[in-house]
Symmetry: C2
Subunit: 343 residues, 2 copies
């Protein structure tokens, strides 16, 4: 066992304190987004009075909140004035094209947070505190919020993912985008290949979000919808490409294999599947984002997980796929697993 005496720098309980108080950071960032603080800081001049006026908030509250955000690395303070940090300028100011502030809505939904209020019980029981299948229950409205608010975070990955999947292939092709959500990944394939025809599969209310995005991207005429559960609906096909993004982590391995078999049956010989996932290393404690994603699956599902590449590879093999490889996706904590239908 380690002890305080065995370390060279004096050991303090700061890390314990910081972890216990971490909930303050969620609340502070959420409040700052609600109060439009990041737009106010971007517009300048950054003095307390003008930020408080913009936020329609007290100066005491605004000063304490902004100081907290500086400590959290989400603002800077110079000579008593607040200005953007590189992170807040790029990702939190609504004036920035790469602003992802909307993700706070999905990530702090009551359904998403509920299990954390009784996490010891969740760990005891080994499953979400939500009833039934948790967030993957049929027609769960959280997925409409996901499709709407998480899209800005997913958008930067779409281009690189599209290139990885197409690898220069052109010509007519049929693409199935399973649990498409915002639809951005399938839409990107349609943008990169003008002869690609995409079918988006998700709950009907979610598909309306995907359809709006397809309209906006100018690919609506090559975008079809398949409403329902990936486990129940008839896929049709056969498809050249299947996208399976952020989906397998909600289920146990056997359920994943059953789905992969169903997908395999709907693919052309030599068709390609691209599975986007949070993929931790075999130690399951690195890198930080994929590793900690397992907690999100514990709290929101019955039996989901963040699977390692070895586990995903095994599932794909059992599902009928071959030539299974993985690549990190630039600008994201995700990994894409690529494989070919072996027929």
């Amino acid at each position: 066992m380690h002890s305080a005496a065995s370390t060279t720098t004096p050991l303090t309980p700061a890390l314990v304190f910081e972890n216990i108080q971490a909930f303050q950071r969620t609340s502070a960032l959420k409040a700052a987004i609600e109060l439009d603080i990041f737009r106010a800081v971007g517009e300048g001049p950054g003095d307390l009075a003008s930020i408080a006026r913009h936020a329609k908030a007290s100066e005491r509250g605004t000063r304490i909140l902004c100081d907290f955000l500086v400590v959290a690395g989400l603002l800077e303070k110079v000579d008593g004035r607040y200005r953007h940090s590189p992170t807040s300028a790029a990702f939190l100011d609504p004036a920035s094209p790469s602003c992802i502030a909307s993700i706070v809505k999905f990530l702090t939904l009551p359904d998403v947070r509920q299990s954390y209020e009784c996490l010891a019980d969740v760990v005891r029981n080994g499953r979400t505190a939500l009833p039934g299948q948790g967030t993957v229950a049929p027609e769960n409205p959280v997925w409409v919020e996901f499709a709407q608010s998480m899209a800005p975070m997913m958008a930067p990955m779409a281009g690189p993912l599209g290139s990885m999947v197409l690898q220069g292939r052109t010509g007519a092709m049929r693409v199935l985008d399973i649990a498409c959500g915002h639809g951005l990944f399938g839409i990107e394939i349609a943008k990169q290949n003008p002869q690609a025809h995409v079918t988006g599969l998700d709950w009907a209310p979610v598909l309306r979000v995907a359809l709006e995005n397809a309209e906006r991207a100018g690919v609506r005429d090559r975008y079809d919808m398949l409403p329902g559960s990936a486990f129940d609906v008839e896929f049709g096909g056969p498809y050249d490409v299947v996208l399976l993004t952020n989906f397998l982590h909600h289920f146990d391995p056997d359920t994943c294999v059953a789905l992969l078999k169903k997908i395999h049956a709907a693919m052309k010989p030599d068709g390609r599947i691209a599975t986007l996932e949070f993929v931790p290393n075999d130690d399951r404690v690195s890198p930080p984002m994929p590793a900690t994603f397992a907690l999100t699956m514990l709290t929101s599902t019955e039996s989901g997980d963040a699977y390692t590449f070895n586990e995903l590879s095994d599932m794909h093999r059992r599902g009928g796929f071959k030539d299974i490889t993985s690549q990190p996706v630039p600008m994201s904590p995700h990994t894409v697993v690529l494989a070919r239908a072996s027929k």
Copy 2:
């Protein structure tokens, strides 16, 4: 304005994501303490099955929780087995004499957390969402929980603080410990000077905790109680030493000055006051712990704050004190402000 292009390393939204998800860390540490995970890890052998058995919890939940704690720096994982990190060994294992796991109780009390659920409103209004004076309302039961659960965190400071206050002075002396809570600071003076007589002031239910600690420290015969509010009760005296620890931050400067004047009137000529506080630098954004403590005061009080040394110095001067100096307290994020009654 900064932009992603102006930085040399690629800018990712990881910091935004990390701050939004920070609430997970509070819940994970709280659950691990409730499930007695840190004792299980300390006792070994550290394999998942035996930890889950000790915690009476599912293996899925235990594995995902423990992996999360590794990422948070609160455990280590080697060859698939969990073991203590230096921090968890010293501060989270109940077998360690310096364990502070109990602080999670006070720091996640519903009253403490309530304002964070509507933090944007709190910032708008510039005051706690709790009714009236917030946590400093008369007889608020949170202070019994504070006295009980925060004592292990305060204990390591008591010795150094006692030495700073006494500076070798011996002989008969009367000490007033205002808002004494756990009582550890006054008790330490009584331990360091066998002729010191200490009067602890706090709400009556809190004083019962202090009295138990005085009993345990063997100084009960030199420990008196003064139940009530520091603003209302007659202090008696005159005192040689007054301890004013973690108290001024709950109030606005004028209220602090009024209290300091009342204290001054109850002191012997040349008596010493020791004010323990979270003291940020003039920029109010450093060091991290004193700076972020202001948010705790925003969310729990009407008009409290984390005051800078200049502000505290000014309050003490207006209260009638001279020779005002400050010193950091070893093993803590606190600073002690020392001053003499000028009579």
